[in-house]
Symmetry: C2
Subunit: 205 residues, 2 copies
Amino acid sequence: MQMTAFFQVNPELPEVDFLLGSKSPRRRELLSMLDIDAEIVHIGADEEFPSDLTLRDVAQYLAEKKSNAYGGDLTGKILITSDTTVLLEDQILNKPQDMNEAKAMLRELSGKNHFVNTGVCLRTASGISSFSDLTIVTFKELSESEIDYYVNTYKPFDKAGGYGIQEWIGAAGVVGIEGCYYNVMGLPTQKLYSELCDFIRRYFQ
Amino acid sequence: MQMTAFFQVNPELPEVDFLLGSKSPRRRELLSMLDIDAEIVHIGADEEFPSDLTLRDVAQYLAEKKSNAYGGDLTGKILITSDTTVLLEDQILNKPQDMNEAKAMLRELSGKNHFVNTGVCLRTASGISSFSDLTIVTFKELSESEIDYYVNTYKPFDKAGGYGIQEWIGAAGVVGIEGCYYNVMGLPTQKLYSELCDFIRRYFQ
């Protein structure tokens, strides 16, 4: 069998299998950018969290919650779960329910900085590890016609905060970011890559 | 004729045609992310610059030089030209000539910050305007095996600095950036979008 690229690059690590507990096509794409092949597994977990949790800890909490909801055998395997939250001032912006809510979110993000926080949990049979990464995103002042065009054309209903940075609004409306770009899309790829190496060293060697 | 998306979003602007003076497939991609249709034109200009030019001014100088090398009629049209430079300490990293040079560049970038500066020039029959945008990119410490894998697999010979941020090395090796992500790929899309609006207001209204 052909060794997957991740283990070609890190020949000192023993080979393990990866599972990705996510329905997001963007997360699959980001994992394949890392040249990691993962089997997609379905996990049913709600997205409730304790009301006294600090907002910046929610993403990591939900990544762990998804991980713990998976009951399969993880011998020789690593399960990757994650959650992305968009934080504006003292609130979390979820996925918009409809056109009006998506437009209202973009009006709130317009001309301001916000945070995108992605929590990731790695779990195998003998151990668990989790972390999160934060990226600051700055939007220009968006006109009503720009907001209408984006929401009507791109229908960002599956995206926390009502936008995808890899779409028109990211190219035309985002002045700059501070941190990992791919984190805004759904996975902190660089941190994930390094943490996977450490995790395999710790639990499989 | 269907109005192109750029003019749907900015209905107060008169319609003009766009020309892109670049062979880079990535720049075409970035323009289409902005929902701008541009005709590709071939411009032959060398990349020489005066030796006393400040390194941060080189990209804008070369964008203007490419613009001025185009002799076609620009009535009712805007020509977009650009140049991207990768700056590490007091040197410019060009496109690597071969495997060894690409690997040497990545060894230099490893574990450090560098600058990516893209200069853009907009020109029509009655006026010209140019600007540049700078993004800071931070690489983690790259291992020899990571450098070998990337260069052997992705062959980054058409990329200044010897890497593409949208490839494996960008996902696995870039800790973070400060500024516009698309600027690192070859066009400061947000700034370009705003400058195009201003340019059309100034020269076509």
